[in-house]
Structures are given as structure tokens and as C-alpha cells.
Symmetry: C2
């Protein structure tokens, strides 16, 4: 896994992915006590950064293999990213989703042309289900984060951050990245190592699902006790990836952990101050910048909003509780 | 009023204004029956295109005059645009606002450093109030739309649309622009006349406040009966401007008129499909593209989302009624 793979992915993504802007607001700066720069991947195709990795993986496949189709398991954002990448390549996609995934993510994945197979997290074995389908239909599995082509695709967001930081005159800053399995954080970390060595990735996670923060602190892969039961559904994973953890262990600063309330408050502030729709899991990095400023150093902080695929009732909750 | 003034404004805005992206969604295309391209000026500084005109006007002033400060009357978006432009130029701003303007717009205008003077639309004379302050404090009035430098600033959005349409291969299309007094629409129309003659502006307005549509149809300036009482507060003006109407009369196609419900539905769809926060008045062009497709021709349509400064309770209403 190296920077050349990210640059190659960037070439494949050219003209297919959105270059998202870098936004700011004096109101957020005031809360955080420093300048806050926001990279809104909620504006990416399919509403999250996952389209970058999905496109990268599908576009890198040999056409003879790709034509049979791809398979992914995902609670929603990776599902949509892979579904759209597959349909734009004209190949089938089968997505295995937990039946308790947000309804809009299930609906959107189907509407993007994928075949959705639902399973019950409590009683069914996802891996057994997918193994059966993979073998029978000659599909290729696209893993959500522990896949070099996926990490390379997510890393293209890091190339953009490096360039945009340079344009804004930001030489040194923490880059807070919403973190599940670590594909987004590790891709960005590799891009910054090469293109903006003064910028350092720091993973941001919700309380109770801080496996990456604990793993970085202990130096070994640590698991979460729970695997569901948070509004931050986009970034709940059992443990750091075998590929992503060594990258972040080498390149990332300490993890940041926010409460679910802080994430919901950040959703409301992204609404009022940035005019952006963030999902709770996509707002944990912004929450860390705003409400954990004592754990961050420097005059600037860069944060990703990793996705915006939130059900209307959860969003209304955030506005009712924290809306201005 | 000519294209050179828009290009000069564009030079003054360079590095101070955001170049907003051009977004789309397969889900919106399906509703509209054609490709829908969205120019989200809700992502502009201060949450609306008005910052363009505000910056253009303040930056064009002679420094000796500017130092005394500026005055504007506005229900909110022009207020915030002028307030931020003035404070970044280090000069005072006084903003005269109706006391029934959305609270967040009043609060934000103050927070951006302006002195806010509230008046009662029903019982007080705004012009008399502002005339007194102008004379006493040697301020310069920045009108919301009937001002060449303001129109030139709004027109910079049209330069961007022309360039982005070219990049997307869009040669011919209607460009639906949310319309109050017509500053945004006439600035864009002048820019397109020069840089993208295959694109034609069509003003979009809410029912009951369709003065521009009726004026374009009759060939003479027509007034609205009401001047308040719509959720589309951003674009309620008594009548087309003396400067803007002749421009639109020469360059614009027929106006489009949407119901308040259609605007609220478009707010909900911008939330779910674009991850954008639009205010009702800022969503009328999108509503026209989605729900009045029979009145539009061509394979593509471009729409502005002119602003996103909406109170949380109005936004929650839109999601409750139309949220997916």
C-alpha cells in the first residue's frame, strides 16, 4: 500500500468523482477556538466518501472478472458507493445488508441498481451467506476497508485536502477523520504523508466504539464490546483492519472519542452554520473539533464530514435537541 | 450594466468568494424527467449568493467613502452578505431589518458585526428610518438589487455556471433562478448572454409573489398584492427593479411559479438527495424543475439554490411533511 496506488486511483476517478470543497464558518471557529476547515464528503456521489473506494475498486478490476459482478456487505454507505460504481460500469452488484440498517440506505442501494440481500445480525452468519453467493455467481467481493484498491480510493480525498490546505496557507494541522474500520483515515494518512507532511490524521470515533483509539494507544488491535446500537451507524466496526491498523499506527496521532450527544450537536451545527446535511457518524470529527478542543493543538484543524445519509427522523431529533 | 462590470466584480471577488460546485442526483433526474444540475449558493459565505453582491459593492467603493460605513435594508440574506463584506473590509455596517424576519437571520447579522435596527413593517416607514441614519452618519446605502455593483456581483455566479455547463457538455438549457427583485436573475442573465448564449434564465417565484412572471408576461412592471406572509421570506419583494426588469425583459424566458408546498417539498428533497440545507425561498427554482417539468424544455435544466438560511423549526416542518 503506497502513494503511487493512491495517485493511480486518482487518475481512474478523474471525471467520475466530485472534488468536494473545503468550507469554513466564523461561527464554528468561535466555538472551537481555532479555525475549523470542513471537507464535506456528504456532497460526494451517493452521499459519502465511500463512492471513492467503490469506484477505485471496480475500475481497477480486470474487465473479464468484473463482468460477472461484485458483492459487498455494508450497513449502507459502502453499499451505495459500490452499487453506483458497479451500475456505471454496467455490471451487477449484490449487497448484503443488516436488516436494521437505516431504511433510506437500503432503499437507495436498491434504487442505484443493486440487488440487496438482508440478514439478521443476531441470528444469521453474514460471511456464510456471502460465501454462498460469491461461489455460485462468480462475483468479486469488495471489502469495506481492508482492501488496497478501496484504501487507495479513499486516499484521493487526502490528495485534495493536501492541495486545499496549501491553497489556504495551512502548513501544520490535525486532520480529524471519522473512523470505522480505518479505510478513510489510512488512505488520507498515506496521501498526507507524501503531499502534506505537516498535516497529521487523528481518527475520531463515537463512545463505546473507540476500537481504533484504544488500539492506537495500546499498540495492538482491540475490539469493541458492542457492534450496534448507536446513531453513528456508518462507522460501527468490530475492530481496526489488518491493513489499516499498521498504517494508522505508523502515521496517526491519538484517537478522539465523542459522545453520541456531541455528534448530534455537530449535526445541528453543520445544518445551521454550513448548510450541510451530516449523518451522526459523519459528524464525529466535527464534534471532536468543536467539543474536544483541549485535545487538539494548533491554529487550524481540518475535519471530514464523511457522509450525509441520515433518516429524516434522526435529523429532526438533532434539530429538536440542538437546533438554533 | 454590462459584462465588463461582471468581469471586474469577478476580479474583486477572487479569493474572497466561494466557487460553488455544480451538483446532481440520479434521484432528482428521475423526478424531473431530465438531468437536473444544482448550483448550491447555500454553500456561499453567509449561506446565500448575497455575499457576492455585498462584496462587489463594498469592494468597489472609494476607500474615503467606504470608511464611514454602509447601510442596507433586508429581511436577512442581503443583510448578512453586506455585514460580512463590511466587517472584512474593516468598516461599520448598519442593517435595517423587519422585526418579523427569521430570528436566525437577525442573530447572524449581529454576530457578523453589524448594527441591526429593527422596524415594524406594518406601522413604521423603513425609508424614513434609513434616510435619517444615512444623513447623520455619512453611510452609503447598498440596495438589495437595483444597484449596478450588486448586480455585477451576483452575475459572477453566472460566469461560474457558464464555465461549469461547458465542462459538463451542456450547450442548451433553461437556468432557473430564484427571483425576488431580480438582481440574481439579471446578473446571471448578463453573464450567460456573453459566456453561454445557449443557456437562458427563467425566474422562479412563489405563488402570490409572482410579480416578475407577470411583469415579463405583460411587458410592464407589475406589483404584488402582499409583501409578507410566505415561508419564502428570502424572495418577497413588492415589484421588479427599475434596473433588473429591462435586463430580464430582454434576456429571460417566461417566469415559473410554484406553490409554497412545492417549495417545502423541494427543501426535503435537497436534504435527502443532495445533502444540502435550502431555505424555502432558495428552493423555488428546484421546485419548478421537479414539479413543473412540463413548462421546461430540453434534456438538461440548471437550477440555483439561492440560500440556506432557514430556521430549524421550518426545516423540521419540511421533513415532517415531505421527508423520506
Amino acid at each position: 500500500m503506497n502513494i503511487e496506488m493512491i495517485r493511480a486511483a486518482n487518475d481512474r476517478l478523474e471525471g467520475h468523482v466530485r472534488r468536494t470543497p473545503l468550507l469554513n464558518s466564523p461561527f464554528l471557529d468561535e466555538i472551537a477556538g481555532r479555525r475549523v476547515w470542513v471537507k464535506p464528503e456528504c456532497l460526494q456521489h451517493t452521499g459519502s466518501f465511500k463512492f471513492r473506494g467503490g469506484w477505485s475498486a471496480v475500475s481497477a478490476m480486470d474487465a473479464d472478472v468484473r463482468k460477472h459482478g461484485v458483492l459487498a456487505f455494508s450497513s449502507g454507505n459502502h453499499a451505495q458507493g459500490v452499487a453506483l460504481a458497479a451500475s456505471r460500469h454496467g455490471v451487477p452488484a449484490v449487497i448484503i445488508m443488516p436488516s436494521d440498517a437505516p431504511q433510506m440506505k437500503i432503499d437507495n442501494t436498491r434504487a442505484l441498481g443493486a440487488e440487496v440481500v438482508l440478514y439478521d445480525r443476531a441470528t444469521e452468519d453474514r460471511d456464510a451467506i456471502s460465501a454462498g453467493i460469491l461461489a455460485e455467481r462468480r462475483l468479486t467481493l469488495i471489502k469495506p476497508f481492508d482492501d488496497a484498491m478501496v484504501i487507495a480510493g479513499q486516499g484521493t480525498c487526502g490528495l485534495e485536502i493536501a492541495e486545499q490546505a496549501r491553497e489556504e496557507g495551512i502548513g501544520h494541522a490535525d486532520v480529524l477523520v471519522c473512523c470505522g474500520g480505518g479505510g478513510f483515515a489510512s488512505g488520507i494518512a498515506l496521501a498526507l504523508e507524501s503531499d502534506a507532511p505537516g498535516l497529521r490524521v487523528r481518527p475520531a470515533e463515537p463512545e463505546g466504539f473507540d476500537d481504533m483509539a484504544r488500539s492506537l494507544a495500546s499498540g495492538a488491535i482491540e475490539r469493541n464490546d458492542r457492534q450496534s446500537g448507536s446513531l453513528c451507524d456508518a462507522i460501527l466496526t468490530p475492530q481496526p483492519g489488518a491493513m489499516t491498523f499498521p498504517i494508522l499506527s505508523r502515521l496517526a496521532g491519538p484517537g478522539l472519542v465523542v459522545t453520541e450527544d456531541e455528534a448530534m450537536h455537530a449535526v445541528a451545527l453543520a445544518f445551521s452554520r454550513l448548510k450541510l446535511v451530516a449523518e451522526p457518524g459523519g459528524a464525529v470529527a466535527l464534534a471532536a473539533a468543536l467539543f474536544h478542543s483541549g485535545e487538539i493543538e494548533g491554529e487550524d484543524v481540518i475535519v471530514t464530514i464523511s457522509g450525509g445519509n441520515v433518516d429524516a427522523d434522526v435529523f429532526r431529533q438533532a434539530l429538536e435537541r440542538f437546533g438554533g
